[in-house]
C-alpha cells in the first residue's frame, strides 16, 4: 500500500506492506536508525517517537496508521544547527550511558516540557514511567529534563558538539594560524 506522511518536517511517500510497523518503516525504509526497538510487548519505550506531537511507541503502531500524519524522531530534534535543550540537558546531566533508550526518553521529555514548562520531579518520573532505562537509574534523566526546563532556549551546536559527519557549523569561529617561517627553514 502507499503511504504519505511528514517526517521531521519533510514529506515522504513509500509503497509498503500493510503490516509494517512504524518503527521498522522509520528504521529500514527511511534509514532513521535513531529510533530503536527493544521489546515485543510495548513495555520498554526505546521506540518512542512523536506522532502529531504526541509520544507514541512506534512498535505498537503500523506505518499505515501514520499515513497523513506528522512524525518526529530524534533526528528531528536538532533544527537549523541548534540542538534542542533536551539534548543539551542529557549531555549536561549525564542522562545517558549506552544511549539506547535516550531518543525515546528525549521525545517524551520534549512533549512533557511543551505542555508543562516547569514539571516537578514527580511529573517527570510519571511521564517517563512507560520507558525503561537499564543504565542510569533515572535520577540523571530526571535532572536532564529539569535542566532542559530551566534552559528553554535552543543551544547553538558548538564545534565540539557537532558530529564529524555534519561538518563544521557555518557560524563556527575558526582561528587560522598562518604558517610560521622560522619553523620552515631546514
Amino acid at each position: 500500500m502507499h503511504v504519505t506522511m511528514t517526517v521531521n518536517g519533510g514529506e515522504v511517500e513509500r509503497d509498503i506492506e500493510p503490516r509494517v510497523l512504524l518503527v521498522h518503516f522509520l528504521r529500514e525504509d527511511l534509514g532513521l536508525t535513531g529510533t530503536h526497538w527493544g521489546c515485543d510487548t510495548s513495555n520498554c519505550g526505546t521506540c518512542v517517537v512523536q506522532v502529531d506531537g504526541q509520544p507514541v511507541k512506534s512498535c505498537t503502531m503500523l506505518a499505515a496508521m501514520a499515513d497523513g500524519h506528522s512524525v518526529r524522531t530524534v533526528e528531528g530534534l536538532e533544527v537549523g544547527g541548534k540542538i534542542d535543550p533536551i539534548q543539551q540537558g542529557f549531555m549536561e546531566e549525564h542522562g545517558l550511558q549506552c544511549g539506547f533508550c535516550t531518543p525515546g526518553m528525549m521525545l517524551t521529555a520534549r512533549e512533557l516540557i511543551d505542555k508543562n514548562p516547569h514539571p516537578t520531579e514527580g511529573e517527570i518520573r510519571e511521564a517517563i514511567s512507560g520507558q525503561i532505562c537499564r543504565c542510569t537509574g533515572y535520577a540523571t534523566i530526571v535532572r536532564a529534563i529539569q535542566w532542559a526546563a530551566d534552559h528553554p532556549a535552543a543551544t547553538e551546536a558548538t564545534l565540539q558538539d557537532a558530529p564529524l559527519e555534519d561538518g563544521i557549523p557555518e557560524d563556527a569561529a575558526l582561528e587560522v594560524v598562518p604558517p610560521q617561517k622560522e619553523t620552515a627553514k631546514a
Binding site: L96, F100, A139, T140
Partner: protein, 811 residues
C-alpha cells in the same frame, strides 16, 4: 594513602557543583580541563542526535535476514524436522538445521567453561527456547513467517526443573550427549579450611543457620543480542559486526570453532546498547549468521527479539546458599560456612576464569575478620537456559556479597545487636592490608570503619533508628538495611586467570601525532561506560593533553591490540592500567627528546603536567606538543630513539583490585498490601582514585536500580514442565522511574596500591552491594512481626505471605 571526604548527596547535586575538577584544580583551564574530574562525555553528541551505530543499524549491500526456530518445550527428543514447506515460501533463501551443521562440525560449539553447547539441536532439545532451525530470507518479516512453516515432531521427556532434585537417583539425565554421563552433576568446588572451620563452630557460643536463595535473574540490556556476518568467499575474510563485550576473545574462539584463520576474521563491536554480562558469551545466533553468510554468499543479519533474549541468553545467579555463622555472644565473628547448590542450566556456559568454576565466590567472607571459613559449591545441569555469570556480578561476587551481608544481619537478629555495630566490631582494619581473606584472595586496601562511619553520618543513622522506633510504636513498618560489600574485580593475573586458555591481560597503544593530538587504542569495549571519555582522561592526566585532543579507539579487532574485553568491572583495573602505563612510556620517551631539544641530560629534566622543563629553570621547557612535532621532524634524535612518539604495552595485573562500599536502604512497607517502597538509598563507594565523578555516579545509580530490580521485582521462574515464566517484559519486571528513589551517593578514596593510578573499578559495585541492603531493610521492617528471613524478589505477595506467617502485629 589519601582520604578525600567530600559527601555528594542528592541535595548537593547540580551542574554548578558538578563542574569542579576534583583532585585537579590547577591543571588546564576552565575551557580545556586536563586529567581527572567531572567532564561531559565525548560520546554524547552522537547519541543525543540518534547517530549511534548499533548492530541492528548496520546495513550491508545484499544483506539477508535470519530468524531462529526455538524449542517450545524444555526437554524432548527430536523425531523429525521438515523444512520443505518453509523453503517453498516466497523470499526464503535457506533453512539450516542441526543435521546441516554436523558435517561442518558446527552443530556444537565449546562454551566458556569447557563444556559444549548445541548451535542447533540434533538429538534433543534441553531447554525451552533452545535453537532448532535457522531461516534466512530477504527481510525479517519473511524470515519470521517461515518459522511457522517448519514442522518439528518432538518426543517429550520429563524435565529437570527443581535443582534440589537434579541429583536424585531417578532424575532424567539431561546431557546424554556426553559420553559416560549418568547424572546431572557438573562439578564441586571448595575454598577455605573445612577442618579449622568445624573446630571454630564447635567452640562458638552462638551458631545461626540460614538458607538464602538468589534466584535466576537476567541482565536484559535494552539492546538485545545480534550480529551481521559477511563472508567474502574470494578473500576468505569474515567481517562480523556483533553485540560483543569481548571482540578479541570472540575472534580467537571463532577462529578455533569455525576453522577460519584468525587473521582473516575482523570483528567489529559497534555501539552496544547495554551489556551487563549478557554480551560476553558466543551465542548460537552469531554462529548461524556466519554459517548463513557462507551458505548464501550474502551478508546475514540476525537480531533476537526480547523473548529470545530473556529465554535463551545468559542468565545470572540461581544459587541456593545455606549459611552457618559462628560467633561469641558479644558479637565477635568466629567462623562462616557456605554450602551452595548452583543451577547452570542445560549447558555449562558460565563465563569465568578457568580455575574459578564458582567465579569469585571466594569473596564470601566479606569485609570481616574470621578465625576460619569454608565454602563449597556444587553445580548441576537442569532443563533451563545455559549461562550463569552475567548481570553485573563480577563473577559471582554478587552472590558472595549478598550471602555474607544477609548472614551478618541474621546474626545481629540472633544477638539482638545493632547491625551497624556488629559490622564495626568485626571489620578488617586498615593496617591489616594486604589481607588474606582465608578463602584464597588477598584484599589490596581498605578503610572500612572510616567509610562506614562516613556513611552513617551522611544517612543520619541514629535519627533513622529513632524515627523507626516511633513508627513501630504506631504500628508502621519501616526498615533500615545495611550492606557493606567488598568486591574483587579486574581479572586478572595471567598465572591464575584465563578464559579458554587466554590470559586475562589487556593491551594499549598510544600515538601522539606531530601536532600533539593523540589516539589511544584499547582492547576493552564500552557498552555505555564512557570509555571514550575516561580513557582519554587517563592519557590526559599522565601526559597533559586535553581529553578533547585524544581519540579513544575500541571495539574493532583490526584497530586495537589484543585483550579480553569488558566485564567483571575489569576495564579500569586492567585496561585503564595499560593506558596509564603506555602513556608513561611515551612520557619517558618524550623526556629523551626534550633533553636533546634543550641540549641537556634527561635526568636534569622535571615533569609537570604537559611539559618537561629544566630543574631549577622552569622557563626552559618543552611542551608535549612541541616534543611531538620534534619527534616527527628533522631534528637529530638521541641514539636509539625512533622518530615518533608512540608506544604499546600489555598489562598483566599483579592482583585483583578490591572496591568496597557502605550502603544504607530505608524502606516503608504497606501493612495492607505488603508493597515495599524504597524511600531512601545512600551508597558510599570507595573505588580508589576517581577518574570522572560524573561517570562514577552514573555507574552507581545504574547498579542501585539493578539492585532494586532484583530485590523487589526481577525473577526468571519456571513451571513444573520447564516453561519459562519470565519470557517477556510483561512478566520480567524491570524498575521504571516510579520504583526508584532519588539516589544519594558519597565516597571515600583508598587507592589500590598496585594499580598505576590507584583506581579500582566501579561498574558493578552497586549491583553487588545493593540487593542485601534492600532485603535487610525489608526484614528489618518486618521484625516486629517476627520475620527473620525473606527471599528475593520481595514482591507484595511474598512480603504479604511473610507477614501472615507470624504472630499478629502489635497494635
Amino acid at each position: 594513602m589519601t582520604i578525600v571526604d567530600e559527601p555528594r548527596t542528592h541535595a548537593e547535586h547540580g551542574s554548578e557543583h558538578g563542574r569542579d575538577h576534583e583532585h585537579n584544580p590547577a591543571a588546564g583551564d576552565a575551557e580545556r580541563p586536563i586529567g581527572f574530574g567531572r567532564l561531559q562525555r565525548k560520546e554524547d553528541p552522537r547519541f543525543v542526535r540518534g547517530q549511534g551505530n548499533y548492530t541492528d543499524d548496520v546495513v550491508l549491500p545484499g544483506m539477508l535476514h535470519g530468524a531462529i526456530l526455538r524449542a517450545p518445550v524444555a526437554h524432548a527428543r527430536i523425531v523429525s524436522i521438515d523444512t520443505s514447506e518453509a523453503l517453498a515460501r516466497p523470499g526464503v533463501r535457506a533453512v539450516i538445521t542441526g543435521k546441516d551443521l554436523e558435517p561442518l562440525k558446527l552443530a556444537w560449539i565449546p562454551t566458556l567453561s569447557y563444556d559444549v553447547q548445541a548451535v542447533l539441536a540434533t538429538d534433543k532439545v534441553r531447554f525451552q527456547g533452545q535453537e532448532v532451525a535457522f531461516v534466512i530470507a530477504d527481510d525479517r518479516y519473511a524470515a519470521r513467517d517461515a518459522l511457522e512453516s517448519i514442522n518439528v515432531e518432538y518426543d517429550i521427556l520429563p524435565p529437570v526443573v527443581d535443582l534440589r532434585h537434579a541429583l536424585d537417583a531417578d532424575a532424567p539425565v539431561i546431557r546424554d550427549d556426553l559420553e559416560g554421563r549418568t547424572d546431572n552433576h557438573i562439578n564441586d568446588w571448595d575454598c577455605g579450611d573445612k577442618a579449622a572451620t568445624e573446630a571454630v563452630f564447635a567452640k562458638a557460643d552462638v551458631v545461626v543457620k540460614q538458607e538464602i536463595v538468589y534466584p535466576r535473574v537476567h541482565p536484559a540490556p535494552m539492546e538485545t543480542c545480534g550480529a551481521v556476518a559477511s563472508f567474502n568467499p574470494v578473500s576468505g575474510e569474515l567481517t562480523l559486526y556483533e553485540t560483543s563485550q569481548a571482540p578479541h576473545a570472540h575472534r580467537t574462539i571463532i577462529a578455533m570453532v569455525a576453522g577460519i584463520p584468525e587473521h582473516k576474521i575482523h570483528i567489529i563491536s559497534p555501539d552496544i546498547g547495554g551489556g551487563f554480562g549478557n554480551k560476553v558469551g558466543i551465542y548460537p545466533g552469531y554462529v548461524l549468521a556466519i554459517v548463513g553468510s557462507i551458505v548464501t554468499g550474502h551478508p546475514v543479519k540476525w537480531m533476537e527479539d526480547r523473548s529470545e533474549n530473556l529465554m535463551s541468553t545468559s542468565f545470572a545467579r540461581d544459587y541456593i546458599m545455606t549459611g552457618e555463622i559462628a560467633a561469641t555472644k558479644d558479637g565477635t565473628l568466629l567462623g562462616l560456612r557456605a554450602n551452595v547448590l548452583a543451577d547452570h542450566g542445560a549447558f555449562n556456559g558460565t563465563a569465568q576464569p578457568t580455575k574459578y568454576p564458582a567465579g569469585f565466590f571466594n569473596l564470601f567472607p566479606g569485609s570481616y575478620t574470621w578465625e576460619a571459613v569454608y565454602g563449597k559449591v556444587t553445580s548441576v545441569y537442569t532443563n533451563k537456559a545455559p549461562g550463569g555469570v552475567a548481570y553485573a556480578c563480577s563473577f559471582r561476587v554478587t552472590e558472595a556479597s549478598y550471602f555474607v551481608e544477609r548472614m551478618i544481619d541474621r546474626l545481629a537478629i540472633e544477638l539482638n545487636m545493632d547491625p551497624a555495630e556488629l559490622r564495626l566490631k568485626n571489620f578488617i582494619k586498615p593496617e591489616q592490608f594486604p589481607y588474606d581473606n582465608k578463602a584464597g584472595f588477598d584484599y589490596d586496601s581498605g578503610q572500612y570503619e572510616f567509610t562506614m562511619r562516613h556513611a552513617m553520618d551522611l544517612v543520619g543513622y541514629d535519627d533513622l533508628r529513632k524515627e523507626q522506633a516511633e513508627k513501630r510504636a504506631r504500628g508502621e513498618l519501616m526498615g533500615i538495611g545495611i550492606s557493606f560489600f567488598t568486591e574483587g574485580v579486574g581479572a586478572g593475573p595471567r598465572k591464575h586467570m584465563d578464559i579458554l586458555g587466554l590470559g586475562m591481560a589487556d593491551g594499549a597503544e598510544l600515538r601522539i601525532h606531530p601536532t600533539g593530538k593523540a589516539v589511544v587504542r584499547i582492547s576493552v569495549q564500552s557498552q555505555g561506560q564512557a570509555h571514550e571519555t575516561t580513557f582519554a582522561q587517563i592519557v590526559s592526566e599522565e601526559i597533559g593533553i586535553p581529553p578533547e585532543d585524544i581519540e579513544v579507539v575500541h571495539g574493532d579487532t583490526d584497530q586495537t591490540p589484543f585483550g579480553l574485553g569488558t566485564y567483571g568491572s575489569r576495564s579500569t583495573p586492567v585496561s585503564g592500567a595499560a593506558v596509564a602505563l603506555v602513556t608513561r612510556k611515551v612520557r619517558d620517551k618524550a623526556r629523551l627528546i626534550a633533553a636533546a631539544m634543550l641540549e641537556t641530560r634527561p635526568e636534569d629534566l622535571e615533569w609537570e603536567k604537559g611539559r618537561w622543563f629544566v630543574k631549577g629553570d622552569p622557563s626552559a621547557g618543552k611542551t608535549i606538543q612541541e616534543i611531538a612535532l620534534a619527534a616527527h621532524g628533522t631534528m637529530e634524535l638521541p641514539e636509539g630513539v625512533d622518530g615518533n612518539l608512540d608506544a604499546e604495552v600489555t598489562y598483566d595485573p599483579p592482583n585483583l583490585t578490591y572496591p568496597y562500599g557502605a550502603y544504607f536502604c530505608v524502606t516503608d512497607i504497606d501493612r495492607g498490601t505488603g508493597k515495599v517502597v524504597v524511600r531512601r538509598f545512600l551508597a558510599v563507594d570507595d573505588c580508589g582514585t576517581r577518574i570522572n565523578p560524573m561517570v562514577i555516579e552514573g555507574q552507581v545509580h545504574g547498579g542501585l536500580t539493578d539492585g532494586v530490580g532484583m530485590a523487589l521485582m526481577e525473577i526468571i521462574e519456571f513451571d513444573s514442565d520447564g516453561n519459562n515464566l519470565g519470557g517477556s517484559f510483561m512478566d520480567y519486571l524491570i524498575p521504571t522511574a516510579m520504583e526508584v528513589p532519588d539516589w544519594e551517593t558519597g565516597f571515600t578514596v583508598t587507592p589500590s596500591p598496585h594499580h598505576p593510578i590507584g583506581a579500582k573499578g566501579i561498574g558493578e559495585s552497586a549491583t553487588v552491594g545493593s540487593p542485601a541492603a534492600i532485603v535487610n531493610s525489608v526484614i528489618d521492617a518486618l521484625r516486629p512481626l517476627g520475620v527473620t528471613a525473606i527471599d528475593m524478589p520481595c514482591t507484595p505477595a511474598r512480603v504479604w505471605d511473610a507477614m501472615q506467617g507470624h504472630a499478629a502485629p502489635p497494635i
